[in-house]
């Protein structure tokens, strides 16, 4: 029989009881909407990490003093110094730039406002290596650093927190740990990189931080940007060699520092996000299955209600296959319609979440197609039993049905 005819019959039957069709589809609608929204959230989170990884450019390694164990307790021994940073910035083959930094949370005062923020002591190349840009004013210079000047560059969110126009803040003074600093620059927003927001930091020259604020010459982290033409491994080996020499570590002894690959770190975070996405999608998928059971339930009722129609159709020459197809097409259309509505709902929910909750969401055609295909499959799988029952009806019994 012509499939178009079957579709037409099914549509007519759905149209004849629209409200019930809607109730039938509700489970599928909610299921598909949930899957779409969950996957959109997960994909959004992954995109954010992707962007962050792209922003790395050439790989950036992060060097820190290694934790060491003393009587079973991990202790952080400070081993990295400004001299190490200097050693790593001259005559290196695989390292393009190094940025030493220390960071600490301090009380910041501006006028009569008090904030508790991360203050990062770093070198001028922090801007380029970590992919920041200036919005107003200028980054402090090497000369500022050498002169231990009390100047500060502030993150993009600070003007908002201080209720001030960004441009108007240039030249104003803030107090860090009761020491006066002049604001000389405001950064452009870089966006949250997931676990930390870099836009509410305050940057000051490294030497200033060491000599005027913390009072020691250690640095906490040295970021090393690997040359575009070199591999991460080559860079790691070179850094290790130089630092072991600088620290006078004898062969066979352990490093007193650790080199971490931030790209690797981001990759493992990405893997975790992916697992999380699948988990959420899986949970949402369960509701899709529950929706399918709803469809089966209503289709069984429909078959009972339409027993006489089935009898008439069989008396007029419908085969088992014709009847089977008719009910299967009907449940599949219900599921596809539900899938379509769910898709629209999920896309709307994703857009609303992005807009009002500030979560990055991405509805991909892949997730849309998967959810759509899945709802078609649900229609077929859960429609087959009611359809088989309809097809197996004996014509004479079906005609006698009241």
């Amino acid at each position: 029989m012509l499939i178009g005819e079957t579709v037409r019959i099914s549509l007519a039957s759905i149209r004849s009881n629209l409200f019930r069709a809607l109730l039938t589809m509700l489970g599928i609608i909610i299921g598909v909407a949930a899957v779409i929204t969950m996957v959109a959230l997960g994909t959004g989170a992954q995109r954010a990490i992707d962007k962050q990884m792209q922003a790395f450019g050439g790989d950036i390694l992060s060097i820190q003093s290694s934790a060491w164990f003393s009587r079973g307790v991990a202790r952080n021994r400070q081993t990295l110094t400004t001299d190490d940073a200097l050693a790593l910035s001259t005559g290196m083959e695989h390292v393009e730039a190094v940025v030493p930094e220390i960071s600490e949370r301090y009380q910041i005062k501006y006028g009569n406002q008090n904030l508790n923020l991360s203050v990062i002591g770093t070198t001028p190349n922090h801007l380029d290596v970590h992919g920041f840009a200036m919005a107003h004013g200028a980054m402090f210079s090497s000369a500022d650093d050498a002169a231990r000047k009390r100047v500060a560059v502030i993150g993009a969110e600070l003007p908002g927190m201080l209720d001030a126009e960004p441009a108007a803040l240039i030249g104003r003074s803030i107090q860090i740990r009761s020491i006066n600093f002049e604001i000389i620059g405001v950064l452009e927003a870089k966006g949250g990189s997931g676990w930390r927001n870099p836009d509410d930091d305050v940057w000051i020259p490294l030497s200033t931080a060491q000599f005027r604020v913390t009072g020691d010459e250690y640095v906490e982290t040295i970021s090393a940007k690997i040359a575009e033409t070199s591999s991460t491994e080559m860079g790691m080996l070179e850094i290790e060699r130089v630092l072991r020499r600088e620290h006078g570590i004898l062969p066979g002894k352990d490093n007193d520092f650790a080199i971490m690959d931030r790209k690797q770190f981001a990759e493992s975070r990405q893997a975790a996000t992916e697992v999380f996405t699948y988990l959420l999608a899986g949970i949402a998928g369960v509701s899709l299955v529950v929706g399918g059971i709803g469809i089966m339930n209503i289709m069984l009722v429909t078959v009972t209600e339409r027993t006489r129609e089935i009898g008439v159709r069989k008396a007029l020459g419908a085969t088992r296959g014709n009847i089977l197809l008719q009910f299967l097409v009907e449940s599949t259309i219900l599921c596809l319609l539900g899938g379509l509505i769910g898709l629209a709902l999920g896309a709307t929910a994703s857009a609303l979440l992005a807009r009002y909750a500030g979560w990055q969401t991405v509805v991909t055609s892949g997730s849309a197609l998967t959810a759509f295909g899945f709802s078609a499959a649900v229609g077929i799988v859960f429609g087959i039993w009611p359809a088989r029952r309809a097809a197996a009806l004996d014509p004479i019994d079906a005609l006698r049905h009241e």
């Binding site: 029989m1 012509l2 005819e5 007519a12 039957s13 004849s16 006489r308 129609e309 009898g311 008439v312 159709r313 069989k314 008396a315 007029l316 020459g317 419908a318 085969t319 088992r320 296959g321 014709n322 014509p395 004479i396 005609l399």
Partner: protein, 216 residues
Amino acid sequence: MGDEHIDALREVDLDVRTNEYVAIMGQSGSGKSTLMNILGCLDRPTAGEYWLNSERVSRMNDRQLAGIRNREIGFVFQTFNLLPRMSALSNVEVPLIYSGLPKKERVERATAALETVGLADRMRHRPSEMSGGQRQRVAIARALVTRPSIVLADEPTGNLDSTTGEEIMNLFDQLHDAGNTLIVVTHEQHIAARAGRVVRLSDGDVVSDVNARNEE
């Protein structure tokens, strides 16, 4: 229901020729409907054989029987059995859908069949918008539309008043004149009198089989 075994039909030996008009009579419960259902391939005999156009129908599988019901048989029910959500035209089209005919041809043939039964002006109406007599005409058009070898009608006037019943029986006369083979179940003597042959059933047995035209 229950364990009691009932033979709805027993000694039935019937031979119907092309363009015969047979009336089947008998008391309620005598097995008339059971016989019609077997002839219409809606039911299968537990024993015995049924041959239609030199084909042994009683041995056919489900799929083959559906084909026979579609092509060879036009069934008219006492309760019309139209599909309520469809127009008269769509109802008449249904058997042709299962024959696999394309839409254009279906509409042409269904329209012609409805014209034959005098419903050219009611084709877009639904069953609920028609009188009993009109509904039965739609059902007859639906039975005729596939040009079946045999038209079976189980008490086709049972749910109609006598005037309307009379009109329906006139229609059957026309169909017979046009060359159709008819088997009609009826309770009423004057209706049976229109047929050329009257078969009487009692408790599942054929008790008389009279060819009225020959007797005259």
